[in-house]
């Protein structure tokens, strides 16, 4: 954390990401897993609805409305993950210290490996589907592409949320 290189934006984001309010939402590993699971479920629902929106344009209105409604809890879940990781992925490098920068590199590398596997699965899946039915390939290609793009975008958050550890208690020092 190089405070001299931090802008006012960095400082305000640092305060926001370290705001202790709502700490109970991510205080334990189980709660952090729940937040990541909720975020993943909401992301899957939004992508699924987008696919439905794309594939059946006649019923587009209701799915667009549901997506708009789902975005609100999605943002709340994203905020919980960001707070649990103390802005590991949101803050700029000057606002992170050496451990956080190393942790961010680890998280991004792990997320990259996972999304590479997902991309491979999507490509293989599309080849298999396309081999069986040429029209199906055209139908599902965009959905698969959007799904993997979204997974690529949110995977670092999920990995960081699952990797976050419990807050060390202040009185640990007294017991050592």
């Amino acid at each position: 954390m190089t405070t001299t290189r931090m802008t006012s934006y960095d400082r305000s984001m640092l305060r926001l990401m370290n705001d202790p309010r709502g700490r109970s939402l991510y205080a334990t590993p189980a709660r952090r897993r729940l937040a990541v699971a909720a975020h993943a479920a909401l992301t899957a629902a939004i992508v699924g609805l987008f696919a439905h929106f794309f594939l059946s344009r006649a019923e587009a209105i209701w799915s667009a409305v549901v997506v708009a409604v789902l975005l609100l809890p999605w943002m709340v879940a994203q905020g919980v993950i960001n707070s649990a990781t103390r802005g590991l992925l949101e803050l700029r490098a000057p606002a992170l210290d050496e451990r956080q920068l190393a942790e961010r590199d680890r998280v991004l590398a792990r997320a990259h490996r996972i999304t590479t596997c997902l991309l491979l699965l999507a490509v293989v899946g599309l080849f298999v589907v396309g081999d069986a039915d040429g029209d199906a390939l055209r139908t599902y290609a965009v959905s698969a592409l959007v799904g993997t793009l979204v997974a690529h975008f949110v995977m670092p958050s999920w990995v960081a949320g699952l990797s976050a550890q419990d807050e060390p208690s202040e009185d640990e020092a007294a017991t050592l």
Binding site: T2, R99, E167, E170
Partner: protein, 82 residues
């Protein structure tokens, strides 16, 4: 590379009555990083270790060591190790 660096940061910090937050602010680190160092879950860089040692006005080897530290009371009262 997961060599364990032992430290007595928690003991010294408690003895000096310094909070993690104020130590972190003084050395330009996140307060969680101080906690991770104390728990042995993170080995600080030489730069950070020197900054922490300077904050307490101690030589770096008083806080960090490749060998486990003897209890402070043993060092102060000179009890021999078995």
């Amino acid at each position: 590379m997961s060599e364990q660096v032992h430290n007595r940061l928690a003991v010294v910090r408690a003895e000096r009555k310094v909070s993690r937050q104020s130590l972190a602010e003084a050395v330009g680190a996140h307060y969680q990083t101080i906690g991770y160092i104390e728990r042995g879950q993170y080995n600080p860089s030489l730069d950070l270790a020197l900054k922490i040692a300077k904050f307490f006005g101690l030589p770096v080897e008083a806080l960090f060591s490749l060998e486990p530290f003897r209890p402070l009371t043993d060092e102060v009262y000179g009890r021999k190790q078995p």
